[in-house]
Structures are given as structure tokens and as C-alpha cells.
């Protein structure tokens, strides 16, 4: 009898725990749905084509986000262009030259810290590194701050992806007398390309929403500017400024910006996953 009771008790505990875990998953999905619903709903309401053609307006006037979106695109592309080569090189060093060495382990450790370090801290770093010596806020400083966020992501994925390339491939190539740099450039990178591309795309998705590091590097600009040496508007900073303001029409613009940003980031992350998936199937 007591064995039956014990059995019953264990089954009840089990059922309750499993129910709670399903409830936790539902709760997570609920908030995801809620946040997306709000952003898409309020964003679509404020969405129109003028967003892409008009400048950020003063309160009370109609306008768009053209200069902010342009600034974001320019800064993100430059940041990726700077961060990616350095990141790939550092990742190659860690995976190919210092894999089982303490130097490699240290770089990996430091890189992982950099990967999760608060972005606002990187913004302050770039402020002291670039803005202060150069004597003013600039789009260029924003680019560097964003590049510091791209860097660890690319280092990490390059490192991971190169280590997935079978050693036999390296040995086969080296045994043909090909110098190591050529092996790396023409064989290993080709094998690791889909993974590295995914990493770069995910890094792009991450920096396109970054606000904190731009607050004290690129600052903001109410007008159209393609001059990287002066302050530059960016979508996240404008969204921040407009959302914190007391004006209704600025709020609407902020939601529209949030909508564009969210859709862009979600599409990019899904696309990045697809790149990795598509290539992985034939490799297996």
C-alpha cells in the first residue's frame, strides 16, 4: 500500500513539474508574441513611405527617418567592413596557430568576455579613445564602437567554424606542398565560409539595434549627413530620443522605426540561420 502511495506521489510530482515546464515555455512565447504584436501593430499604424524619404522632424511637424536610417546603414556597413577582417584574422590565429596553446586559450577567454561585455562600456571606451582626442562626436567614432561589437562575434564564429574543419583536409593540402597561408585562404576559409557568413550576419543584426554605444560616439543629427567626421543620426538613437519625448507624433515615428528595426533584425537572423542550414546538409 505504501509503495503504491509513494508511486502515486512520484507521479504527481512528475506531472506538476512537467506542467510547470510547459507553462514556462508558454510564458516565454507569450511575451515574445506580446512584444512582437505591439511593435508590429503600432509600427504598421505609423508606417508610410515618407519614413524613407523625409528627414527627422522637429516636434509637431510631419517627417520621416531617412537620415537616421541612412546613418545606421552607413555606420553598420563600415563597422562590419572593419570588424570582419580583423575578427577573421584573430579567429584564424586562435584556431590554426594557437589552438592548444595558452595564448590561444587567453584570447578565447578575453574574446568571450568582450562578446558579453555591456555595449555601453564599449561606447565609453571609444569615447575616451576616439571622441576625446579628436575633439568631437563623429560618425567615425560610432563606426569604431560598433566594430568593437562585431569583432568578438566574428572571432568566435571563425574560431568555432575552423575547428570544425577536419584535420585531414589540412594534412592533405599541406602534403601537396601548399604553403599554410594558401591552405588557410583557399581551403579552410572555403570550408568555413557558411559559418563565418552566419556570424557576420548575426553581428550585423546585433549592431543594427545597438543604441548605447552610439549615444556618446556618433551622437545624433537632425539633418541629412554623409560626413563621417561629424555627428551622425542613427535609427536606434533617434528611436530612443523620440520615444523618451512627450510628443505623440514623435512616439509614432519611434514605433515606425522600431518596426523597421525589428523586421530587419528578425529577417536577418532567420536568413543567417538558413545560410548555415543550407550548406550543412550536403556536408553531412
Amino acid at each position: 500500500m505504501s509503495a503504491d502511495l509513494l508511486f502515486l506521489k512520484r507521479r504527481i510530482i512528475n506531472a506538476v513539474a512537467l506542467l510547470l515546464s510547459a507553462a514556462a515555455a508558454l510564458l516565454g512565447l507569450f511575451f515574445l508574441g506580446w512584444i512582437l504584436w505591439t511593435t508590429l501593430g503600432k509600427g504598421l499604424e505609423a508606417f508610410n513611405l515618407a519614413l524613407f524619404t523625409q528627414m527627422t522632424p522637429p516636434p509637431g511637424e510631419a517627417g520621416g527617418l531617412a537620415n537616421a536610417l541612412f546613418g545606421s546603414v552607413v555606420m553598420c556597413l563600415f563597422a562590419v567592413a572593419i570588424g570582419t577582417p580583423i575578427g577573421i584574422a584573430a579567429g584564424t590565429f586562435v584556431a590554426e596557430y594557437a589552438n592548444r596553446h595558452w595564448v590561444g586559450a587567453t584570447i578565447r577567454f578575453v574574446n568571450d568576455i568582450l562578446l558579453s561585455a555591456p555595449s555601453i562600456v564599449l561606447g565609453l571606451f571609444v569615447y575616451t579613445l576616439v571622441v576625446k582626442p579628436m575633439g568631437g562626436f563623429s560618425g567615425f567614432a560610432g563606426v569604431i564602437a560598433l566594430a568593437f561589437i562585431v569583432l568578438p562575434v566574428v572571432v568566435r564564429t571563425t574560431d568555432d567554424m575552423l575547428r570544425l574543419v577536419p584535420t585531414q583536409m589540412r594534412e592533405a593540402a599541406l602534403s601537396l606542398g601548399i604553403p599554410q597561408w594558401k591552405v588557410t585562404m583557399q581551403i579552410l576559409y572555403r570550408a568555413a565560409a557558411p559559418g563565418i557568413t552566419t556570424g557576420v550576419l548575426l553581428a550585423l543584426a546585433r549592431i543594427s539595434g545597438e543604441t548605447a554605444p552610439l549615444l556618446f560616439t556618433a551622437l545624433n543629427n537632425q539633418y541629412w549627413s554623409s560626413d563621417l567626421s561629424g555627428p551622425m543620426a542613427s535609427a536606434p538613437v533617434v528611436i530612443f530620443q523620440y520615444a523618451m519625448s512627450p510628443f505623440e507624433d514623435w512616439h509614432a515615428l519611434a514605433w515606425a522605426g522600431a518596426f523597421i528595426l525589428t523586421v530587419f533584425v528578425l529577417v536577418l537572423s532567420l536568413f543567417a540561420r538558413l545560410v548555415l542550414l543550407r550548406k550543412r546538409v550536403p556536408n553531412d
Partner: protein
């Protein structure tokens, strides 16, 4: 003829070796750059914050006066706000993340695991400013109208913890910031937990099932002990994120520099203070104090993240990587 061939081959070998060396140095330089970036970040902030540290000494950390007009800066309110919001976030996020990881690895039917897992990971990719806006425009009014009045009326009179929950239902405040942070870190922690749960050898779990264990017993007594250090590492990773999160918190925290016991009152955090005030910092001392705050945040997150990495490595070691 043969000699020229040999000479050519030798030249080629020398050239290849030179290229190899150059390539190697370039790669090593980039690796060194990563090390320098972290060191440079720490040192430059310490250097720029030196004025604040030398003016206020240790009082910069312990004083709770933040007065821009009187040029008196103490970081305690911000530090405490950072720690309290992160603590609230972890108290809520850790059990929920564990539940999600459990659901995704043991409970859900196989066809459901990938879509839900991807959805939760997408939640991690949404820019934090979106969480902040959603928090300010949707979550805060909801809490202020429906939840906080009830919390104030029912929990506010409890002994001991009552003062934490007593206060006007403003909506913005420490508790709200903690809740928004919890929603933000759940995806991070749960995806780490799911990944480490998946590393448990199937043999181990099947042995436990064969002995008649229920699913819950397998997870609690086999999976969790096997992955304990990595799970704690994942929790610390989430904690690091919660401590350094800026935008979401800035929106809903209220930027108040007064110390208040109640969690319903506006507060501040290190990151929110910097984000709110950096542009308007007009004196060197003010700016230096904000950078010194950044340095403190960096030190706190560095310690937390380093602990996280060390614990995650424990599991990797056991697996033989």
C-alpha cells in the same frame, strides 16, 4: 636546366616561407588586438575616471549623493540599483529558463522542439531598445493600472518585506526594470541550459529511465547534477547581461537619484545613469564620474562573466574538449 629548376624551387620555398611568416604575424597581430581591446577598455576608463576617484576616494562607491549642481558624485544609488534590478531579474528568469530548457529537451514532442527553440532564440535577438519601448508604453501602464495597486494593497502591509512593496503605483521603477530584464535574459539562459542539457549522454538518462525514474527525477537527479557547473555558468552569463543592459532599463527605471527601499519607486542603475546623463555632463568632474561609473560596471561584469566562463569550461573539460 636541372639546376635552374632546383634554384627555382628553392626560391619558391623561400618565398612561401616568407609569405607564411608574414601571414602568421598578421593573424597573431589580430589576436593580440583582441587582448589589447579589453585591456585598453579597462585602462582608458580607469584613466578618464581618475579625477572622480581621486576627488571622492572610496566615497565614490559608498556615497549616495549624486548632485550635478553641487558637483558631488557618489555611485551607491546606481550600483545598488544595478544589483537589485539584476537580482530581481535572476530570481524570476532562472526558474522560468530552467522550465523552458526542460520543456525543450525532455517534455515537448520532437517536432515542436526546433520551432519553439528558434522562437525563444529570436527573442534574444530583438534589440534591447524594443524591449524598452514596449516596457514604457505597454508594460508600465498595464502594471500601474492593474498590478501595482494590488501589490501595494496586499503585499505592502506584510511584515519585513512590506516596505519593499509599498508605494504609489507609478508603473516605472525598480521592480518594473527587474521584470523587463527578466524577459530579456530568459532567452539567453534558457538556450545555454538547453544546449548543456543536450550534452548529457543518452545512456545515462536511459539507465535512469530503466530503473523506473520519472522524467522529473531524471532531470533533477541525473541531468542537473551532470550539468551543474555549466548551468550555473549560463545563469552567470545571463546575470552579466542583466547587469550591463542599458536601453531597456533606461526606459522604465525612472532616473531617480534618491535611495528608496520600495521596489515600486523609481531608481537608477549604472548603465541608465550613463545613458541619461552623459550628453549633458558639462564639467570634467561630472564626465569623469560617469566614466568612473562605467569602469565600475566593467569590473562587476568582468568578474561575473569570468566566473561564468570558468564554470562553463568545467563541463567542456569533462566532455574531453
Amino acid at each position: 636546366m636541372q639546376e635552374t629548376l632546383i634554384a627555382a624551387a628553392e626560391r619558391r620555398a623561400v618565398r612561401d616561407a616568407r609569405h607564411d611568416r608574414r601571414f602568421r604575424w598578421m593573424m597573431a597581430g589580430a589576436g593580440l588586438f583582441v587582448l589589447l581591446a579589453l585591456g585598453g577598455a579597462a585602462l582608458s576608463m580607469l584613466w578618464e575616471g581618475r579625477e572622480a576617484f581621486s576627488t571622492f576616494g572610496f566615497g565614490f562607491v559608498t556615497s549616495s549623493t549624486w548632485d550635478a549642481i553641487g558637483q558631488q558624485f557618489g555611485a551607491w544609488v546606481a550600483i545598488r540599483g544595478t544589483l537589485v534590478t539584476a537580482l530581481i531579474a535572476m530570481l524570476i528568469a532562472v526558474p522560468i529558463s530552467f522550465g523552458i530548457a526542460l520543456f525543450l529537451t525532455e517534455v515537448a514532442p520532437t517536432w515542436l522542439r526546433t520551432p519553439i527553440g528558434t522562437a525563444i532564440e529570436l527573442l534574444a535577438g530583438i534589440p534591447s531598445i524594443i524591449y524598452g519601448m514596449w516596457g514604457l508604453f505597454v508594460f508600465v501602464p498595464m502594471l500601474a493600472e492593474h498590478v501595482y495597486p494590488w501589490v501595494d494593497a496586499n503585499l505592502g502591509s506584510w511584515p519585513l518585506v512590506g516596505t519593499l512593496f509599498a508605494g504609489p503605483p507609478l508603473g516605472i521603477g525598480t521592480l518594473t526594470a527587474g521584470l523587463v530584464l527578466a524577459i530579456m535574459v530568459v532567452p539567453f539562459i534558457s538556450s545555454v541550459m538547453r544546449d548543456v542539457f543536450l550534452t548529457v549522454p543518452t545512456r545515462l538518462k536511459e539507465s535512469a529511465y530503466a530503473l523506473g525514474s520519472t522524467r522529473w527525477e531524471v532531470v533533477w537527479d541525473v541531468v542537473l547534477p551532470y550539468t551543474r557547473s555549466a548551468v550555473i555558468g549560463g545563469v552567470f552569463l545571463g546575470l552579466g547581461r542583466a547587469l550591463g543592459e542599458t536601453m531597456a532599463v533606461t526606459f522604465v527605471l525612472g532616473n531617480a537619484h534618491e535611495l528608496s527601499t520600495s521596489l515600486l519607486m523609481p531608481g537608477n542603475s549604472i548603465a541608465a545613469t550613463i545613458a541619461n546623463e552623459f550628453a549633458e555632463a558639462d564639467t570634467d568632474l561630472y564626465r569623469s564620474s560617469l566614466i568612473a561609473l562605467g569602469f565600475l560596471l566593467f569590473v562587476i561584469t568582468f568578474v561575473v562573466l569570468a566566473l561564468a566562463k570558468l564554470m562553463l569550461r568545467q563541463l567542456a573539460k569533462r566532455e574531453g574538449h
